[in-house]
Symmetry: C2
Subunit: 340 residues, 2 copies
DNA sequence: TTGTATGCGTTATCAC
DNA sequence: GTGATAACGCATACAA
């Protein structure tokens, strides 16, 4: 914390701190000459206001908090990247916390953030979060909250998402149009909304194209060790169905890559013997052999939009403008490469 | 910010705020019964101290700042992961900022962090940072500073690094012992210390094994687009040397993967025709074809140690214990896979 | 054992 | 145009 305060400027200039404060803020009712002197000295002494005092006085901290499951993750680190870039441009600082897919921790982190007096909070929920009282607590405290990607439908706040169901529908429809008929799905856990929606998209794409939905072709990958989940499920898939399956739509690129590597190691040709379609467009998918078709899920853009909207809501709150919660849907896009 | 203050508790209990304050902190000179009542009410009202007031009063914020080049990066996100886990356990919050390899931005971020009154700062320098006045400013302000991985030798503070030179030396020596003789090096920029040290390690490994150092086998990859850097340098390498090169040691896994993909696409067998050795042990290196030999550079552990040491220095500063700057070297390890 | 008073650095109100 | 003064919420030295 800088140690040159209003008082030292006031004293060396022989005026009051009140005048100094106003002079620095260019108030209209201050003599031009005094202003000049004050601003000059302030610059010379390298004055910066004490952030704690300002926050205490103004009840705002120019600080937001972000809780995500983990940042060692292509998608989430891109979301953070977008948030940080936007915060940078608006002079906000951001506290980042990882819930590590632990709902208890997530709760505790909300309390911490609240107690630190952040002006707003962004959350991407852990996979196992079911009790939502911590989110409601944020809202009750009148702190703007935005959920991004891993959301809870019932919470009354702005949400930034993709249309998971549509994206999955499009991907599976693409596979069908390419001629694949026995399409398996490596799905995520039963709780997360994304996982549910992508599964539903898969299912309705099949039905809409007159392909019977076969629950035996759906494999659950919820060990949070995505790569091995994919690898092992691929093995099981072949044991269970042998040649009687010609494509897989996976909920995540990492799971897709796990499966791909299982096939590569076992000399099963992708896409000739089995096609794969991933989800998220992780950097890696460009450079696997074969490169992986996937769904672009623009994490950076989602982060940017989330932060921008949050700052808007903070402003509105400050100006007593009633804030209307939105559901913002960010576009996705099929990225077709060589795995199907 | 919570709105139940000491005063609220004091008033409803008909006692003074001083007593409440002390009761909550379990001071010895407070009547047990009063303590009980105060603590009970505090819990009931869900009291949390106003962080701004506490910080203003105590001149410490239980907050640290971290500046890294980018977080969309396997190594750096692991460093952050380690920092966050450690901070979590010590009840510190952390501001994270990305310099995006921009030295001007890095400077500005230091000022921001300082003005926010963080208790300590961790920096991993941008590749182009040369002027170090911002780092010295941190030190002058008496704020503990630790540099991690991307350090500047001349700054007088604690540093957490790996022994880049030795790690590179070991990797290249391994290649030599495996029988490779014409070993190229895809190096990083000329400024960063890591880049210099890994190059020097490469060079001395050659010399120590009586292999002539050939500057024509060294390719500069400093476009910060590591993958394409590797891809393109691989192409150039073959144009320049054809069969007269049998291995590459790259400064980074991503560059190695770029090269690997160039070879894969052009039907050049790795490692039969050319071997590759990477650096960092990114997750990806496990799952390329062939899998990539590399150097384990434990980012998580480096982050953990960095944060732990920083908190120690903050404590010491607080207790007026003179802090002695250390250079902490985290172990590396060769990870041998199928690319050499 | 408790309460009073003061100060941390700002900003804002209101006299002058 | 300017300057006391109070207030934000807390912690503490000191008085009671």
């Amino acid at each position: 914390m800088p140690k040159v305060t209003l008082k030292v400027i006031a004293n060396t200039l022989g005026i009051s701190t009140a005048t100094v404060s106003k002079a620095l803020k260019n108030y209209a009712d201050i003599n031009l000459e005094t202003k000049r002197k004050v601003q000059e000295l302030a610059k010379k002494l390298n004055y910066t206001p004490n952030a704690f005092a300002v926050s205490l006085r103004m009840k705002e901290s120019k600080t937001i908090g972000v809780i995500i499951p983990t940042m060692v993750h292509f998608f989430f680190s891109n979301v953070l990247d977008g948030i940080l870039k936007e915060a940078e441009s608006k002079d906000y600082m951001v506290f980042i916390m990882q819930s590590n897919e632990n709902d208890k921790l997530e709760k505790k982190q909300v309390d911490l953030l609240l107690s630190k007096g952040v002006d707003g909070i962004i959350v991407s929920l852990s996979n196992i979060t079911k009790d939502l009282t911590h989110l409601n607590k944020i809202i009750e405290n009148n702190v703007p909250l935005i959920l991004v990607d891993k959301i809870a439908k019932t919470i009354n706040c702005t949400k930034v998402v993709i249309d998971d169901r549509k994206a999955a529908y499009d991907a599976v429809s693409y596979l069908i149009k390419k001629g694949y008929k026995r399409i398996a799905h490596f799905r995520g856990g039963l709780n997360p909304q994304n996982s549910v929606d992508r599964f539903l998209g898969y299912k309705s794409a099949l039905l809409d194209h007159n392909i019977k939905f076969d629950p035996k072709l759906v494999y659950l990958c919820d060990n949070n060790s995505d790569y091995s989940d994919g690898f092992e499920s691929a093995e099981k898939l072949l044991q269970d169905h042998g040649e009687n399956v010609d494509a897989i739509f996976t909920i995540t690129d990492l799971i897709a890559i796990g499966a791909l590597n299982y096939f590569n190691e076992n000399n099963i040709k992708v896409p000739e013997q089995i096609a794969i379609f991933g989800f998220s467009n992780w950097f890696m998918t460009k450079i696997t052999t074969p490169s992986l078709s996937t769904v672009e899920q623009n994490g950076y853009k989602m982060g940017e939009i989330t932060a921008r909207t949050l700052f808007q809501e903070i402003d509105d709150l400050h100006k007593d403008i009633p804030i209307k919660h939105q559901k913002i849907i960010v576009d996705t896009e099929l990225i077709i490469r060589n795995s199907c």
